[in-house]
Amino acid sequence: MTALAAAIGVGIALLLCVVRLFVGPTLYDRTLAANGMMIKIAILVAAAGVVAGRGVYVDVALAFVLACVVVNVAVLKFFRSRTLQAPLARAEDQ
């Protein structure tokens, strides 16, 4: 029952993060909101696992958090260098 309360509270926070995802003025605000959304979705899945009493859901949450790390690092690297295959040596400025 407490797990159900946790799921409801985290779901409300997830909706607030969705608002920031669509409002956010810069690209990095949207990235931050998407990051928080993915972590909150993982907690929601873990709470569903505790409610249902099945450990498989918690495994899904663990995999989702790891995927969240990889996706965020890739997206931020793309925002930084505008390519996913940045050159190893920096071009000389004139």
Binding site: A6, V10, I39, A47, D93
Partner: protein, 122 residues
């Protein structure tokens, strides 16, 4: 009431307290993410209150878990969250700063990493 029932009632109350504390922290983080004026202040709200709140909520779920295996996996999830939250916050802030996004107030304008001349002050 036997000992197992007493332990179950105690566990329910303890998990309720811990989850309530974590939900207060998560609500603070989400409101800060909505209401603060700047990317860097939003980062401060979302990654100080939110990471701690997530970890506390997952610990409360681990207290409320019906089996030992689920509780162990939830503890692993809490360790993972407390490791990756500040890392991703650092990445977002460093990327925004390298792209030249200035804070909304203050005099701090460090040269961008990799730039040959200092960035223009805000």
């Amino acid at each position: 009431m036997d000992a197992g029932g007493v332990i179950d009632v105690f566990r329910l109350g303890l998990s309720g307290l811990v989850i309530a504390a974590g939900l207060v922290l998560i609500a603070g983080g989400a409101l800060g993410l909505l209401r603060f004026p700047d990317l860097y202040t939003r980062l401060h709200a979302a990654n100080v209150a939110d990471v701690v709140g997530s970890v506390v909520v997952v610990l409360g779920l681990a207290i409320a878990a019906p089996e030992w295996g689920i509780a162990l996996k939830l503890l692993l999830l809490a360790a993972l969250l407390i490791a990756i939250g500040p890392t991703l916050a650092h990445l977002v802030a460093q990327t925004a700063h390298a792209a030249g996004l200035a804070p909304i107030s203050g005099q701090y304008a460090a040269p961008r990493p990799g730039a040959t001349r200092p960035s223009t002050p805000p």
